[in-house]
Amino acid sequence: MGIIKKVPVFLDKVPGGGIITTSLDTIFNYSQASSLWYLLFGTACCAIELMATGASRYDFDRLGMIFRASPRQSDLIIAAGTITKKMGPRLRLLYDQMAEPRYVIAMGGCTCGGGPFYYDSYAVEKGIDHIVPVDVYIPGCPPRPESLLEGCLNLQKKVKTQKIKDWS
């Protein structure tokens, strides 16, 4: 991605070049935000609510979100459900397999910080931010589909603030 990194830097120096970069920013960000394909990654209770959100009443597809089974083709992990110490390395592996740009939503108390399994459990990872960087936290045990949708809208807001210059 060598050239793409240099182009915006170059355009910034040209008078009026900023217009091009900002409009490219807008187009790319808008596209990325309205087509967040999520990885089917449900481990526990929240997975049922994730399924319910994909189903008729709440309908993820309205936001342009469809599930992909392969991490290579998805933009977003919705970590739905408890991540145990045995599962943690697998989550990291899946995250590493995803293509940039990639986002993580921590859904439910367990992924935010251990939740009901914080005390007295020898097997639960206390928050997935030890493992992968998290963009949006959604508390709840499990969160309602509405709060999951709210979380996705918040992620869209975050996506729309990206800059072409910051691409890696």
């Binding site: 110490k85 045995k86 914080y118 005390y119 007295d120 020898y122 097997a123 206390k126």
Partner: protein, 157 residues
């Protein structure tokens, strides 16, 4: 047979092996006095024409703080009976015999007992980790005296 009759039948049938514990509220609960003969006993209750205890509901280890206990809950699908029995084990060198030859479903229950309590199972055949991470090296977490650096107990309110 109702519960009392079942308890009486079992005590008559295995007078040296079983001792009725006082629980009263639910199905009969026995103390088994000869842990070495567990396989023979299990086979006997499974093949007994009156009992037919062909269904192992569950089997688990218990850490009472003084010693281990191993509890078996058995049921009969054909005759609709159910009872439980248990026997104590010392902490040092705790070992039980596998009952897979009687109930094949005991396999994972025994594996779990070994993994979480450290109770060795003779003649098991596949005593490997399966609930804990493969690289687990912190001992047997279900024991009462178990502790680890990142293990937090819930504070008393």
């Amino acid at each position: 047979m109702n519960r009392e009759e079942l308890a009486k039948y079992l005590l008559d049938k295995f007078p040296d092996t079983l001792e009725l514990l006082e629980t009263g509220k639910a199905e009969p609960f026995f103390l088994m006095k000869k842990p070495d003969e567990i396989v023979e006993f299990c086979r006997a209750i499974r093949d007994d024409v009156e009992l037919r205890m062909d269904f192992l509901c569950q089997m688990c280890g218990v850490d009472t703080g003084e010693n281990f206990e191993v509890v078996y809950s058995v049921a009969s699908v054909k005759k609709r009976y159910r009872f439980d029995f248990k026997f104590p084990l010392p902490y040092e060198g705790a070992e039980i015999e596998s009952v897979q030859t009687v109930w094949p479903g005991a396999n994972w229950f025994e594996r779990e007992t070994w993994e979480l309590y450290g109770i060795n199972v003779k003649n098991h055949g596949n005593l490997t980790r399966f609930l804990l991470p493969d690289d687990w090296d912190q001992g047997f977490p279900m024991r009462k005296d178990w502790d680890a650096p990142d293990f937090k107990r819930m504070p008393e309110v």
